[in-house]
């Protein structure tokens, strides 16, 4: 077994691989301490959810209605609640005050004390205001005793039995003297900011504006602009009186009176719903019903675990803990919940979803069951890790974009969702994975207890491909997406046969159009354009653009300021600092009064609106007045701007203010711990005003919020960068073709049922009869010719598997080669096989050395004999096959007849006349003909029922495979034959010395030459008694021509014939293209630096357009045969390239490094790498356009080319791994391979139905 996890993560490189590796490590950890981890994570979740207790779950958010006047009809149809009178009216007088001009010698408290002291006068003038016969005292709400004691100030300082009028003065009991004697007003105010009451703080109640606006949250020694409000609660609305008050106040405070008078005339009615009606519950109920259906269907899918109930509960706990945790975190950090959480939660659950939980479960349960549970968890996590991470980042990116819209509700939902995603991720990995590992180990424990019965076949099949048997999959980096797709069990492997290149020719027009459309990615582009446009629109409408522009372009300095500015700025550094804080007004020390006065304008008319939703409710609650079920009308506030002169500020100064200002900052920071303490910097100015149009939007201001935003932005940016990198990789020319070719598979749906096929279990057909190891295997589509080491040639019917003929060529001298091969086979079956590279060279060496040995070594005969006799008897042939005695002959013969010396044979120059020797057919075994001895068979080819055999003594024999008649012999050249090819009437013979002979055959019928095509088609294919004898009598073959091409200087290692060209590769590092007709050279292809070891010629087209060759140094070169140019050359393998194969779109190569590489054919890009272990045969056969077959020990393996995954294992024999498959040949829809001394035909029926063969 491999080291755990190596099947997926070991070889994967790049980011996905590393992420998968991390998940693997984590999975091991989680599975080691599941209980500890899950309880720890759950504890963290519970701690994080504690603040949820404070959430007002059952309450409803207040509703607002805005009208321009008190009694006017609103623009929308009036809600039901508006028909009643409001509970109270709220009248605010908003004051914006500052010391101006600010003088540099002022101290910290000067900025606060004088502007704040004005509130006493203002409060008095409001409380005592009278107009006509009415007065504020008559109109106002008479406060009784505050019922709450908890913030002490409520009890002691809040108004009782008088007008309910709140202002900052309340902090000092509305006593000006107390204010003046207070040595530290800042501390007094800041303390109250922490005193919470119901939904708000005491400070908010008395100031009437959010704390941020009061200028008390950040303490700087410089000019401050304070905003506070005097809040009057009224019983009745008397517009006349209030108009009078407004008029009076504007008279009293004339600064900006004209603007302040027209700021707002909107009445805001805030309704606090009392209870929920049935109608309102209805939508919520529906959402919850859908939610429960969703949960039901999701949980139902969880079937492959031991305890379904426990795991379902665990999944539910994960999701709900996520919900609680995220809300808790948000509430803890004070992000307000204006959304009705009841309505939002179901959507949140749906968005977060059970998908990841399900995916993890599925992935873990798909791992091999016999593995250690720890490893199973780790493998399951690492398979899905990259996908989970990718999705998380994608979702965070989308939600961050949502936050950037600055629409408050969307922002809030997105915040909630983002935090929810992160919590979900945390809980999934921490809690769910841990509980899953507990479940898995339980499962394993239970399985161990069960009596180990006979493992069923289905079990074996289920176990097979999942990485446990040394199947290593390595993916190309540019196809990371498919890395972690769970591999289904082989019993139900469904693979699409669809391939873009293979099928386009036959596609219906509608599909062509459709694919074209899909390929142009119209909708994807549209979608992204849409997204960008939407963001742009929202950003524009949200004022973001305006804000940005304002920030980029600093406001033009006023003309009168231009002169004094340089004088006032003592150093150039200060100016630079001012410039650095672009967008801020110039230093206040030098600011003109005009500028300060402008800043005193009320920029945000509805500043009170940023108070908590339940602010007014809290206010009334102090006096035990409930506003539930009723509404509060907030009348248009009166705006007052106050400019306090520096003299007044100096007068108001408390004697101890100077010492206070030195230490107040530190002390407040110490006691409260939350204030943001800025360095005293006179040039800077905080951004006091949020942009006018984003009054509700969430703009990060506090450090936590900024931190949160950064936290969100980081993954988004990372994701976008990754996306860009991936896009670049796809679009850049090197990978474009590969990417494009993947569209077809992605877009059209791999699981479609029409072009789908199920690779069924294939049962091998057993062809036995040879006595020794089968060495050569050839087929012409109908007949199958095999030759064993004993020199016996057998002809089989490829369909039925019957033995048609046994061709006894006469006893070739058992060469040492035979014994060596035999020894080798024993070695191979016993121990570990030599690596393929070694073997290849060994074969080569064998071929080289054989002739010399064959000439001299007869001493080896006993060895041969011994080997034969020690070999177990071949199993009896099938009943219908004729019995074969040849193995006895083969075993006996060397001792009886030492055989002729090879030397005289070499001098023979004979041309065997056609039909002069008829080999012993299968029916007459008794060697009646006694054919002369011939050299050992080195190569064979079979075509159109003719069998060509090349021998070690240089002779070439042509047999009729069906009748077993020797038709022709050519033995004029004594150089051993390394390759023969039958191409219609021509026989291409490659010799040991590098020459290529092209022999032309002619069919003669009673002395008259006949057309070869006629000959080949009218020849009896299967013997039917005396038919063939008559045929033999009338038709003969004779040699008609011989052309010689001196193709290479050295041994020809590979030879292919196609479309009138012969392509040869040799030990001399070269490839030659020769014309078939006359043997004239066409091209010489240089480029390899080693022996050419593999070759393919594109047979897909009639014209041989391209050829590919692999060499011993591992390069793969693809050539254009028409021009003789090298299209590309890539380093393919670490060892020699051992085989090459191609179809319309891919090239498959295997090499000495035990890897199979799939290349994109036209550009030479690597698509995937598959590690083949224990594959002794380097041959690869393409079954269909995306299935290929390799051989292993005792079995064949079917792979999916596009996924690079094994699809099926076909066992050839009972024994598991005793025999290596060395030869494979496709015959129609089947694959023929050798299996020791037997042959196997493996048929793949569903494949044949589609006839997708490339060759």
């Amino acid at each position: 077994m491999l080291p755990p996890g190596e099947d997926v993560t070991g070889g994967a490189t790049g980011l996905p691989g590393r992420v998968a590796q991390m998940y693997y490590t984590y999975g091991l950890f989680a599975a080691s301490h599941p209980k500890l981890l899950s309880s720890a994570v759950l504890t963290v979740a519970i701690i994080c959810s504690i603040p949820v207790v404070n959430m007002h779950l059952p309450s409803n958010t207040p509703q607002e209605l805005r009208t321009t006047g008190p009694a006017e009809e609103p623009s929308q149809p009036a809600p039901v609640w508006f028909r009643e009178k409001p509970v109270v009216y709220i009248q605010q007088v908003l004051v914006r005050a500052a010391v101006t001009p600010w003088q540099s010698d002022m101290i910290l408290t000067d900025a606060y004390r004088a502007p704040l002291s004005r509130v006493f006068a203002l409060t008095e003038s409001i409380a005592n205001f009278q107009h006509g016969n009415g007065s504020v005292q008559d109109l106002c709400f008479r406060a009784e005793e505050p019922v709450f004691r908890s913030p002490a100030l409520l009890d002691t300082h809040f108004p009782r039995y008088t007008c309910l009028l709140l202002s900052p003065a309340v902090l000092w009991g509305s006593d000006r003297a107390a204010f003046q004697q207070d040595s530290n007003i800042i501390e007094t105010v800041v303390k109250q900011q922490k005193e919470r009451f119901y939904k708000t703080t005491v400070s908010n109640l008395v100031f009437g504006v959010p704390a941020k606006e009061t200028a008390f949250t950040r303490i700087y020694k410089r000019q401050r602009f304070l905003t506070y409000a005097v809040t009057v609660v009224l019983r009745k609305n008397d517009p006349e009186l209030l108009a009078g008050l407004r008029h009076r106040l504007l008279e009293l405070y004339p600064l900006h009176a004209s603007e302040n008078g027209n700021l707002s005339s909107e009445h805001v009615h805030i309704f606090y719903p009392a209870r929920t009606g049935v109608y309102e519950l209805l939508p919520v109920a529906l959402i919850y019903i859908i939610l429960f259906i969703y949960i039901y269907f999701s949980v139902r899918k969880m079937e492959s675990v031991k305890s379904k109930l426990a795991m379902s509960v665990s999944a539910l706990v994960t999701v709900f803990a996520t919900l609680m945790m995220s809300s808790g975190i948000l509430i803890h950090h004070g992000l307000q919940q204006t959304l009705n959480s009841r309505e939002v939660f179901p959507y949140l659950i749906v968005v977060v979803g059970f998908e990841n939980v399900m995916v993890i479960t599925e992935s873990v349960s798909n791992t091999a069951r016999d593995l250690n549970p720890r490893i199973r968890i780790a493998q399951g996590l690492s398979r899905q890790g990259w996908n989970i991470t990718k999705n998380l980042f994608l979702e965070i990116t989308i939600l961050t974009i949502g936050i950037l819209t600055f629409i408050p509700l969307i922002q809030e939902f997105c915040m909630l969702a983002v935090v929810g995603m992160c919590c979900d991720f945390f809980l999934q990995l921490g809690f769910f994975a841990a509980t899953l590992s507990i479940d898995t180990s339980l499962q394993t424990a239970l399985e161990d207890e069960e009596p180990a019965g006979e493992p069923s076949y289905a079990d074996l099949r289920l176990r097979f491909p999942i990485g446990a048997r040394g199947v290593q999959i390595q993916r190309s980096q540019s196809h990371p997406g498919t890395l972690s797709e769970p591999l289904g069990g082989p019993a139900s492997v469904v693979k699409s046969l669809y391939s873009m290149d293979g099928l386009l020719g036959r596609l219906p027009r509608r599909l062509t159009l459709f694919y074209l459309w899909a390929r142009s990615r119209f909708f994807q582009r549209l979608f992204s354009v849409f997204l960008v446009a939407w963001m742009g629109l929202l950003a524009y409408n949200g004022g973001l653009l305006h804000q940005l522009l304002a920030a980029v372009a600093p406001p033009p300095p006023p003309a009168d300021q231009a002169a004094p500015a340089p004088a006032a700025a003592p150093a150039a550094g200060k100016l630079a600092a001012a410039l650095l804080t672009a967008g801020e007004p110039p230093p206040p020390s030098s600011a003109a009064t005009d500028d300060d006065l402008t800043l005193l304008r009320h920029r945000d008319p509805a500043v009170w609106h940023r108070l908590h939703d339940f602010h007014w409710m809290s206010l009334m609650r102090v006096y035990n007045v409930t506003t539930r079920g009723g509404y509060v009308t907030v009348l248009p506030p009166v705006y007052v701007s106050l400019a306090v002169s520096p003299q007044e500020a100096l007068q108001a100064r408390h004697p101890r203010d100077a010492e206070v200002s030195d230490r107040v900052v530190d002390r407040i920071a110490l006691t409260l711990g939350q204030l943001e303490i800025a360095d005293i910097d006179e040039t800077g100015q905080p951004s006091q005003y949020p942009s006018p149009s984003s009054d509700y939007a969430y703009v990060p201001s506090s450090p936590f919020e900024v931190f949160l935003v950064v936290l969100l932005a980081l993954p988004s940016i990372a994701f976008i960068i990754y996306l860009l990198v991936v896009l670049y990789r796809c679009v850049c020319s090197r990978n474009y073709a590969e990417w494009r070719s993947s569209w077809g598979a992605d877009g059209q749906g791999a699981g479609d049922y029409h072009q789908q096929q199920v690779v069924l279990e294939a049962l091998p057909l057993r062809l036995s009869g040879h006595s020794q190891q089968v060495e050569c295997l050839q087929t012409d589509g109908q007949l199958l010719v095999s030759c064993c080491l004993a020199g016996q040639v057998r002809v089989w019917d490829a369909v039925t598997g019957d033995c048609v003929r046994v061709i006894n060529r006469g006893t070739a001298t058992p060469s040492p080669r035979a014994s060596r091969e035999d020894v080798h086979s024993d070695y191979g079956s016993g121990g570990s096989p030599p690596s393929r590279g070694e073997r290849h060279l060994e074969q080569m060496a064998k071929r080289l050395s054989t002739p010399q040995l064959a000439q001299s070594d007869h001493q080896l005969t006993p060895t041969v004999d011994l080997t034969f006799s020690s070999r177990p008897a071949a199993p009896p042939a099938a009943a219908d096959a004729p019995y074969d005695f040849s193995r006895f002959l083969a075993a006996r013969e060397p001792s009886e007849d030492p055989g002729p010396a090879p030397a005289p044979r070499r001098t023979h120059r004979r041309v065997w006349s056609a039909g002069s020797a008829v080999a012993g057919a299968a029916r007459d075994e008794d060697r009646a003909g006694a054919p002369p001895e011939r050299g050992a068979i080195w190569c064979m080819d079979c075509s159109d029922g003719l069998l060509a055999v090349g021998c070690s003594d240089g002779s070439v024999e042509v047999w009729d495979a069906a009748t077993g008649a020797l038709k022709l012999v050519h033995s004029e050249v004594a150089v051993p034959v390394t390759h023969v090819r039958l191409v219609s009437a021509r026989l291409v013979v490659a010799r040991f010395n590098g020459t290529v002979h092209i022999l032309t055959m002619q069919a003669v019928q009673q002395g008259v030459p006949i057309d070869w095509g006629y000959y080949s088609c009218s020849r009896p294919r299967l013997p039917t008694g005396g038919d063939e004898l008559r045929w033999e009598a009338v038709t003969q073959l004779r040699w008609a021509g011989l052309s010689t091409a001196r193709a290479h200087q050295q041994l020809i290692t590979v030879l292919e014939c196609c479309g009138g060209r012969i392509v040869t590769g040799s030990l001399d590092h070269m490839l030659r293209v020769t014309r078939l007709e006359d043997g004239s050279p066409v091209h010489t292809l240089h480029g390899h630096y080693g022996t050419v070891t593999a070759l393919f010629v594109d047979r897909c087209r009639s014209e041989p357009a391209t050829a590919g060759s692999g060499s011993a140094e591992g390069t793969l070169s693809v050539w254009d045969l028409t021009s003789g140019l090298c299209l590309y050359s890539v380093p393919a393998h670490d060892g020699a390239v051992t085989s090459l194969n191609c179809n319309a779109s891919y090239i498959l190569s295997t090499g000495g490094d035990e890897r199979l590489c799939v290349w994109e054919r036209f550009q030479g890009h690597l698509i995937s790498k598959i590690a083949l272990s224990h594959a002794y045969c380097s041959q690869v056969i393409l079954l269909t356009s995306n299935l290929f077959v390799t051989s292993r020990q005792g079995s064949l393996m079917v792979w999916d080319l596009e996924l690079g995954e094994p699809v099926r294992l076909v066992r050839l024999g009972d024994r598991d791994s005793s025999v290596f498959v060395r030869q494979m040949t496709p015959v129609g829809d089947a694959i023929v391979c050798d299996y020791g001394s037997e042959l196997r035909i493996v048929r793949f029926p569903p494949v044949s139905a589609h006839q997708k063969k490339e060759h």
């Binding site: 309102e280 529906l286 859908i290 259906i293 969703y294 309505e343 459709f514 849409f530 059209q748």
Partner: protein, 203 residues
């Protein structure tokens, strides 16, 4: 579920019809009850509306729900999400969410509303369907539904305010589009051959 899967086209059609009717009525009721605080629920008007519009929507649901699997087979397309009821329910929930957002979120302008809804509905398509034919069918359905809604139903049923009419233009096509996607996924799921589902379960 097995019983459902074995149903004939007729049975499938009737299921789709009832899906369409019920969904329309319920969504209308939801919209009304979301606004119930502002105006009391008028059950009679709701019933009248449902009687008129729900059958129309049911017929539309039959057409769309049968067209999806048909075109899938014809064009060999496959939705992005897994084929199971959980994802269909998820789709349905998000569709309700789109309706929710439509009626509860206050947008400054109609354009913003329209763009947001368009994006949401596209996202729905992207998450659950991702096939070209799904997009085309849903768009066609949305266009037809919009025309029908605008010129027939509104004129007859509503003596509706002009505000409502102008708002309709902003949101209706996108909601109809998402409805098309949703009913399409339901139709696909109904047309699912039983053995595939069993196989899924086996896995």
């Amino acid at each position: 579920m097995k019983r459902l899967s074995a149903m004939s086209d007729l049975w499938r059609g009737s299921v789709l019809f009832s899906w369409g009717c019920v969904a329309t009525a319920v969504l209308r009721l939801m919209r009304a009850s979301w606004h119930a605080r502002e105006e009391p629920l008028d059950w009679a008007a709701l019933l009248r509306w449902s009687l008129l519009v729900a059958p129309l929507a049911g017929v539309a649901a039959i057409i769309v729900g049968l067209a999806y699997p048909l075109f899938d087979r014809w064009l060999n397309s496959q939705p992005a999400s897994g084929r199971d009821w959980a994802s269909v329910t998820r789709c349905l929930a998000l569709f309700v969410g789109i309706n929710h957002a439509n009626s509860r979120f206050h947008f400054a302008t109609d354009a913003e509303l329209a763009w947001t809804l368009a994006l949401l509905s596209l996202a729905l398509w992207w998450t659950f369907d991702r096939t070209t034919c799904g997009f085309v069918i849903a768009s066609l359905a949305a266009a037809v539904a919009h025309v029908v809604a605008y010129y027939l139903v509104l004129r007859i049923v509503f003596s509706g305010t002009s505000l409502e009419l102008s708002r309709l233009k902003a949101w209706f096509p996108f909601v109809a589009f998402s409805a098309g996607i949703t009913i399409g996924s339901v139709g696909r799921q109904l047309a699912e051959p039983p053995q595939q589902r069993e196989k899924l379960h086996k896995d």
